[in-house]
Amino acid sequence: MATTTTTLKGAGPVSGSRSFFLKLRDGDEIARLVTLVFATTVVLITAALVWELWINSALPRQKFGFHFFVTSVWDPIMDQFGALPFIYGTMVTSAVALLVAVPLGIGAAIFLAELAPPRVSDTLQFFIDLLAAVPSVIYGLLGVFIVVPLMRTVIYPALNKPFGYLPIFKGPSYGVGFMTAGIVLAIMVIPYIISVSREVLLSVPRDQREAALALGSTRWESTWKVVVPFAKTGIMGSIFLALARALGETMAVTMVIGNTPKIAASLFAPGYSIAAVIANEFTEATGELYLQSLIALGLVLFLLTFILNGLARILIVVTTQKGSEAGG
């Protein structure tokens, strides 16, 4: 922004005014200005987004301050709003999702990058890309009609009988809950982990593998002790990316988490997440404080994903650069 105005002013009133209009006639300057306007729009929209979130969440900031994050009462009638149950739900579901998705995703990425012949790898990657394109409401639909019954009839008995004494597997199961949401999320983020990890693994220079093999390591040892550590930061990046996606996911979680603002130790208990409460209550939020509390939750979500995405990008860039430096 600043640079534009200075160019225009500098070209305007002083002797440069004629040359400015000459350039305009040439067309290049017009094209530059027009495209600049559109490019600036992107910056303005992003700035407006942050601004609107900040301005429209002023009330809960003034009224509750930091207590907003640590109280667990969510009572629209008494105008009491605490975000803790939602933050807890978002964190627990994302943690479950990562526990399931990370081993599976990294395993699959290793297969695609190290073992599969290029043609097979590309074909499988094509399917993975399609999987990443499946809309989240479809995952929600399948979650409601497949994962929820499956949870009630298969997974819950299998875990509750032998491990029921552990607090995380205690209590009854209604099918919906943290665990169900976590599993659906896991399925949704696996394609992201696979795609990015595969790219990162492929960027590891060949010499690294060959050196390990020449020293007498088996194929797995060269992969696990040399290639994966080399790509470690990038793989971490892919996990952060998946986490950011899991935190912000709305529809699939809303449909299977149970929508109960309670903090429960059991993974089978119904809960609530930040995105889900916004989706469910935004249109019915009566009263300024209620609406603004929901927007404040949106701001929290925005900041979390902002930080995670930033970290992920740095980690991925660092690794791929390391690969091309060591390789070239």
Binding site: T3, D26, G27, A31, T35, L36, F38, A39, T41, V42, V43, I45, T46, A48, L49, E52, N56, L104, I106, G107, I110, F111, E114, F126, F127, I128, D129, L130, L131, A133, V134, P135, S136, V137, I138, L141, V144, I146, I187, I194, T218, W220, L247, G248, T250, M251, T254, M255, A275, I278, A279, F282, T283, L294, I295, G298, F302, F306, N309, R313
Partner: protein, 284 residues
């Protein structure tokens, strides 16, 4: 002893490598499972009424989602009209005109926008479009989806324009074409397939978005005329119908799910074939 150790290491190697294969296989299987399940459940519940009739009142069986199909189409069209020009022209600026400082600001903003959870985009569209107009509208929904299309279009336009070989530029300039003429007649046509792919992928992504439409386009049991009324869309209908207690609605949710998934996957496959069939544009 050492022989046994070696055998053990080989066994571990083969076992672990086989496991990675299983991981990949399971992940891909999920796609076919989703497809198969939707084809089975949606295929048995889809019929002509689904495409031509309005939803029936609660309790009455039958009816369709004609209004939601039209609504989705309308909103996607308007979203593209808002998002694509900004992304495309902004991308041209980044690739062709910008200095370092401004470019990194724009790029950063686009990446940031790309990572924003869709529900937060919904909040933004609500406070910017719904609140001033005082009602839910197709316009607000399109605004939300259009915003989500911007970063994808912008970054890929930039990538593909930058990957056009330098020689093409120099040849055009040597023939005396001005910079913008070079861009319009040489560079953009050369990168055309890549940009088309990116726009289609962006469209496919927002076509399935539900969260930003919940409180912008809202929903409607009837046809909505014009752009300023609450409008039904397929994804929101799937959501409402799936969480409802009625069997007939569940049936229609499956049908709608099949239509939506089919649409999204077809656009995706189409986009990827456009790219791979095209004149090989060297990437990066």
């Amino acid at each position: 002893m050492s022989n046994g150790r070696l055998r053990w290491r080989k066994f571990v190697s083969n076992f672990m490598l086989a496991m990675t294969g299983v991981c990949a296989f399971v992940s891909v299987l999920v796609l076919f499972f989703i497809l198969g399940y939707l084809l089975f459940n949606g295929g048995t519940s889809i019929n002509w009424d689904f495409f031509t009739k309005l939803p029936k009142p609660v309790g009455e069986a039958g009816g369709g989602m004609a209004n939601a199909i039209v609504g989705s189409g309308k909103i996607l069209l308007l979203a593209s009209l808002m998002g694509v020009p900004i992304g495309f022209l902004g991308g041209i600026y980044l690739a062709e005109f910008s200095g370092k400082g401004m470019a990194s600001v724009v790029r950063y903003a686009a990446d940031l926008l790309n990572g924003v959870p869709s529900i937060v985009i919904g909040i933004f569209a609500y406070s910017l479009v719904v609140l001033p107009f005082k009602h839910f509208s197709a316009l607000a929904g399109a605004f939300a989806l259009g915003m989500m299309m911007i970063p994808i279009t912008l970054r890929s336009t930039e990538e593909f324009l930058k990957s056009v070989p330098r020689m093409l530029r120099e040849a055009a300039m040597a023939l005396g074409a001005s910079k913008w003429k070079t861009i319009v007649t040489v560079i953009v046509p050369a990168a055309y397939r890549g940009i088309m792919t990116a726009i289609l992928l962006a469209l496919a992504r927002v076509a399935g978005e539900t969260a930003p439409l919940l409180f912008t386009a809202f929903g409607n049991r009837f046809e909505s005329h014009g752009w300023s009324q609450p409008t039904a869309t397929l994804p929101v209908m799937i959501y409402t119908y799936a969480v409802s207690p009625y069997d007939d609605w569940h049936r229609q949710a499956w049908a709608a799910g099949l239509v939506l998934l089919g649409l999204v996957l077809i656009i995706n496959i189409l986009a990827r074939t456009i790219l791979s069939r095209g004149i090989a544009v060297p990437r990066s």
